[in-house]
Symmetry: C2
């Protein structure tokens, strides 16, 4: 049995889901992998918040150095969100020889090259399965089994908030504003939904997907991006009359002469295409490889436990493949 101490930066919804995923499955993970994983230190101000897990108060700290400089910690999970101080903390952890796992699409999309290079230079790994498609193990597939393919095309429904709104508009005839309010009431949309409904969240995820599948670096601000705020009931009815559904689609395609063309925006897709059946808060990624042909991965793109599943999956992958834990 190999023991791994993990430090956690941030214990909000996703941090709690990650902690709970480990709490639920610690024994079964140990039995199946030989890894005895412990979250030993947690950077979090709000220690008194009601959480559905058992945390020893002595695990909490308000000093990031207690995680980043603790030599007993081999893997740092970053779940603070936002670009700073998250990026600086991840870089510090990597420079201290610690592997990093994060769900932070904004920080990874913005600082992709620097994070990857710092990990490489320090002989450690950085993984971010939870940053794209929540619990769907798409990045893992792209960086293992699917390396036997040249990726030709990707189409993704990568944002649960906007997919929920579009599904409610199409299935229940809700106006955009009412569907947004419904999503907010159900916890699928934030009080300020700008990053979701304007497509910026999807552009971050598509930028990461393109790096992992085409090996090209296209920063999110260079991806032509349109959100769903301009979609009216008339658009949805027109699409429906043509046997189509409107979805917010992230797309990337290999260009003939080299390079990748990509965009984020609402698209009317045939109702019998695999992505058309992806409704409400679900996400899906459709990929075409030059050997495997069409593939689709479908699952929950958000939520504490699906995201916690992806984060802990990355921790396990590092534990199984890193020489540090042999």
């Amino acid at each position: 049995m190999r023991h791994i101490n993990v430090g956690l930066l941030g214990m909000g919804n996703i941090g709690t889901g990650t902690y709970k995923t480990l709490e639920m499955n610690k024994e079964c993970i140990a039995r199946n992998t030989g890894l005895d994983i412990t979250i030993s230190r947690i950077l979090e101000k709000d220690v008194l918040r009601e959480r559905d897990v058992t945390v020893d108060m002595s695990q909490f700290t308000q000093n990031p150095d207690d995680v980043l400089n603790d030599p007993s910690i081999g893997i740092v999970i970053e779940l603070l969100g936002g670009i700073e101080p998250a990026t600086s903390f991840m870089l510090a952890a990597l420079r201290n020889g610690k592997h990093v796992v994060t769900a932070n699409k904004a920080a990874v999309a913005k600082n992709y090259s620097q994070l990857m290079k710092t990990a490489r230079d320090n002989g450690v790994m950085i993984r971010f399965e939870a940053a794209v498609g929540g619990g769907i193990p798409i990045l893992n597939a792209l960086t293992s089994q699917l390396l036997s393919n040249k990726c030709m095309e990707i189409l993704g429904i990568l944002n649960g908030t906007t997919n929920y709104i579009l599904t409610q508009m199409a299935q229940n005839g809700l106006a955009y504003e009412d569907a947004l309010k419904d999503a907010q009431a159900k916890g699928f949309a934030e009080a300020d939904p700008t990053a979701d409904v304007e497509g910026h969240d999807v552009a971050n995820k598509l930028s990461i997907l393109i790096s992992m599948s085409f090996g090209e670096r296209i920063p999110p601000e260079d991806i032509p991006t349109v959100g769903i705020t301009g979609i009216s009931m008339a658009d949805i009815e027109k699409a429906s009359a043509e046997g189509k559904k409107i979805k917010l689609i992230a797309q990337a395609k290999r260009k003939e002469g080299g390079g990748v063309e990509c965009s984020v925006g609402p698209m009317a897709i045939p109702a019998d295409s695999p992505l058309a059946g992806v409704n409400n808060e679900f996400n899906a990624i459709y990929i075409v490889g030059n050997a495997v042909g069409e593939l689709m991965f479908y699952g929950k793109g958000a939520g504490p436990l699906p995201t916690g599943s992806a984060v802990m999956g990355d921790v396990i992958e590092i534990g199984l493949t890193s020489a540090m834990f042999r």
Copy 2:
């Protein structure tokens, strides 16, 4: 750059697809993984067969020992099909310290424990992604990222032949016999379709899936199995009138008190469930994990290139994770 010599046992349709997958993507694999993979020796009687790839005649041999005992070969790919001599060859390769990759669901389902133990005892790996769901990277997900979950339930459409027949019956009103003839004409069904239409092929795949996801060993002959030969147009019309579709479903579920209940058989599933949209020769695996919730993986369950994609994906995974190639 690390060099890996691979030996190939069998160069029929799947072997040729595997060879072609490597031929198409050798440079891109080398660039992305640092692995320089060469198929250096091929056991195959039919050396003159027309193949869509460039093979040097000196690579062929009719003597299995030329592959199994060649110290320069690190990985043996078994694509002979059938239980023997395939199993004996795989065991010999493992005992000689070679990793094994196979697409042979019948041999793996029948001799699962012996193959896994022999690999473990000899410090090498055996991988068989192509044996379940063709090009869909489901076994890789179950043995890496999804180890963070306890698997609760699996439902799969795991046979392209029967799914093609049922789709043609439902969509085009073909009688079973006519749909079978159509599948045979299109190369989706064999001249003797028994193993497919009676469900035995699916039982082999489900047995492997159960081992990899629930950690329980249930031999295929212990899985209650019904095929599709008894499905009439009246059954399909009745299901359709109830808003359902008939699919040949492999299912496995964790029992309350421990253990797994499982079966293979035709099932009427709601037309709006994710599996209902899986048509013709496509396969899909729907999984529920206790953290990630619902996931579905969709893609081509057969064919030379999708299967070749999975086989070469396994070779790459072994190359990236085995100490032998560091």
